[in-house]
Symmetry: C2
Subunit: 500 residues, 2 copies
């Protein structure tokens, strides 16, 4: 078989995997947006059958054979090289685990998620603890198959953020902690505090829906290649490159959920909508990592959506959607209120300044679980101590503490750091953007957002997974991950807001 024929077979196989993934994602989207409740049982079986098929294809002898043959070929295109690397990574991740062991692990995940739900509802960590122990044990066993460089936890980090290590994270998180913790304390002691009472008045859901559609269009979201729906937990999902959907949640008594949730998911969607068409059906047609993906959603949410210029332009429009609530609130008071910073217990409700502290707590705990000797039984105590230390708050119960997040119940260890990395990347990317677009803030104020999207698409979006996150960061910003940009931005913004 000639080289060309091998490549054709390889891309056919990837297209097949991507087709199954598309079918799975349509079913996932459907379950979240409006499938009838009785549909779930059989749908779960169906999802199980197709997921197994994807697993089988990714670890098949055919895949192995094609990867072996392509690996020895010279002069592969950038695209094919990246597709081979990505497929090899997936192949190696799964083929090393004995099939039976993996099947048991999948069952454990399902069971653990359902136990976690009950444990959270009843705030009873002891229910969840034995499952969490098993999940950690299973991952430690997998780590003996996978191996690691530096520390075991690095391998887990690498699944979500290729190239990321505890060395890098320790360095940047230390810098963050040193300057963010004191800033949070100064804010708490400030005499100037925002009046946020208007936020909790009624913002009609229909107005929130219109506002969400308005902001999506304003930011450059292509509605002919996507749609907006309502779900309990907002998300973005890419069914294919021309079908990138977002969801949001309308809380009549807190419009921030919908407005900033929509802008956040829009940032994810703009990434997916602007990947090169050439990458469709190759495993490369999605964001390159969880952290880089989050950098795009947070760029739009924080640096665009929470900026003064954005609201100078759009506050009147928002008022039209909820005049009773907003007519007596000035632009300045509105801006201050939506940027309130206050230590809190729940990660997903945290403001942009305290958010990284929530992540650092989880990072330190995960690192100790895998690299050190932290025992599951000690988690609630350690969790609460760290919340007191970093944020000055102590969870009244485990539901509002160690049980709040779903991630561990699904065995997703190493995922959390990407949320903070998203913030750090976004700030560093913004600094680089300012060199090309020094009038960035004016553009936002004038509603000229297309140049911003074009800049991001040209340097980041189009490449999909063909560039690794740290390589991309270096190419876009000319330096390694540097936390200074985020810290400086936050210090300047919050010093001014709170007149520190």
């Amino acid at each position: 078989m000639n080289e060309n024929a091998i490549e054709i077979r390889f891309y056919d196989l990837l297209q097949k995997i991507e087709s199954y993934n598309e079918a799975l994602n349509v079913m996932f989207w459907d379950l979240r947006t409006g499938a009838p409740k009785k549909a779930v049982d059989q749908r779960s079986k169906t999802i199980g059958v197709l997921s197994s098929e994807v697993f089988r294809l990714k670890t098949s002898n055919e895949m192995k054979e094609l990867l072996d043959q392509l690996s020895i070929q010279e002069e592969l295109s950038v695209k094919t090289s990246a597709a081979v690397e990505e497929s090899m990574k997936e192949y190696k991740k799964y083929e090393k685990i004995p099939e039976k062991e993996y099947a048991e692990y999948v069952m454990l995940q399902t069971k653990a998620e359902s136990v976690w739900e009950t444990a959270k509802e009843t705030s009873d960590f002891s229910l969840f603890a034995p499952y969490l122990e098993k999940l950690i044990e299973a991952n430690k066993k997998f780590l003996t198959y996978w191996g690691y460089e530096g520390t075991p936890y690095n391998t887990l980090l690498d699944f979500y953020e290729p190239g990321m290590t505890t060395d890098i994270l320790d360095r940047v998180f230390n810098s963050l902690r040193e300057r963010i913790v004191p800033l949070v304390k100064r804010i708490a002691g400030s005499n100037k505090q925002p009046d946020t009472s208007f936020i909790y008045q009624t913002f009609p859901v229909e107005g929130q829906r219109k506002a969400s559609e308005f902001f999506l269009k304003e930011l450059g979201y292509d509605f002919s290649a996507g749609r907006l729906d309502e779900t309990v937990h907002p998300f973005q999902i890419s069914l294919n490159r021309s079908d990138v959907r977002v969801t949001t949640k309308y809380d009549a008594n807190d419009f921030r959920t919908a407005i900033f949730g929509t802008i956040h998911e829009c940032g994810h969607a703009l990434y997916e909508q602007n990947i090169s068409a050439d990458l469709e059906g190759t495993l490369l047609c999605s964001g390159t990592s969880y952290g880089i993906h989050e950098s795009q959603s947070l760029f739009y949410e924080n640096f665009v959506g929470r900026s003064f210029g954005f609201w100078k332009r759009h506050y009147e429009t928002l008022r039209e959607f909820s005049p009773e609530q907003l007519n007596s609130v000035s632009l300045e008071d509105f801006y201050f209120a939506i940027n309130e910073s206050k230590p809190s217990l729940i990660r997903i409700e945290a403001d942009e300044l305290t958010y990284p502290l929530h992540i650092m707590i989880r990072y330190e705990i995960e690192k100790e679980l895998f690299n050190g000797n932290l025992a599951v039984a000690d988690l609630p105590r350690v969790w609460n101590e760290k919340y007191e230390e970093y944020l000055g708050v102590t969870p009244p119960n485990d539901a509002k503490g160690v049980l709040q997040d779903v991630h561990w119940s699904g065995g997703s260890f190493g995922y959390f750091p990407s949320y903070a990395l998203g913030l750090l990347y976004a700030a560093q990317i913004r600094e680089s953007m300012l060199k090309d677009l020094p009038d960035l803030e004016e553009r936002i104020e004038k509603g000229e957002l297309s140049g911003i999207l074009a800049w991001l698409s040209e340097r980041i979006h189009q490449y999909g997974k063909t560039k690794k996150p740290l390589q991309l960061l270096m190419e876009v910003t000319g330096e390694e991950l540097n936390p200074t940009y985020l810290i400086d931005f936050l210090e300047e913004k919050y010093t001014k807001l709170y007149s520190l």
Copy 2:
């Protein structure tokens, strides 16, 4: 391998096929109800990949081996026997066609459908004719692989209505023609005609939506195992047994489209929602034939939804949804108007009395195409002559004549008769129901529909595909297909309506 193990493998394979079918149906539903327009290209590829996989599984060596082993086993359960028979039928249908020939045919279908669309838009039969010729030639070629009993067309009929033959159809259609054609003529000559002008006034779409939901609930549709959406062409689709969805169309200037369309699709959905849970994932968990399926939709549409008692009960409710349009129309005038019978050109707009004549025309043409020597070039002429003969109307162009239906462009020959069979079955089933529920009309008038649904579910729905249509008809009604019941019903109803 013991017998039990073979059966387990067999059912695993069927579950896999059904899982792919579920994924395909979710994607199909999504495309029709709200997928963004740019999604279509990649989605089509994905659907192609999964469809090929279903084809491959149905004709796989594994399927052959399992069917061979199960066929020689004694004492298979009713369910397993039926699943083997169904799988064998599918296997034989496809495995005899050389793979290349089948792939070419699938491409021809896709192309022909798109050419048909243009031909219909421009009312130019000559565009479509060469494709129709190729489709017929391909099916004639396939018939040499499939073989036939009696006449070649019987094999095509059998795909949609197992056991159906031209002998049976000739017999019942002759009886229908003999008595329906004169009845239609007498109606045309009657001095008493309904005033239908109010129908074309505005019925607000929101009211139609509420009415559609109301009637679905009233008829026994389970919304926790389904949902209602809006599409250009209404349909019912079963994703799984507990996720049976219906769609309808809201025409602000003709409420009949939504009301009777919804009731029709509801009849289909009630069938699917009430199949025995035991049949899920076995290829048997759907209606046993196109004709029996149609009998359920038409039972509800015509015998419930177009009855006087139904409107005696619900007319006030409908009025609330559109008071301006309906307040000055009496119940009697409303009932007469929705039962207007008038020869027309378009099948899907035809009333219940003239509808079978549209089907008979198509049946006679298809039969001549496959059993006789009718040439494609002669179709427009023959079509128009038959419309003049049976209905007294002549299409002004081919768009309103021979090009009106999509079926032939997809190669669906033998499908049309099931629409008329649905009417015939429904009337015969109703006659049988009257023996158990002599107060049928009173129940409808009182809104006591649960007993009717229970009767149909117990005798028909629950069996899914485990009973063949003609066997089912015999068991439910105690006799062969007998057109008298439909004819008597129609004669009585229309004689009274039009004071003939």
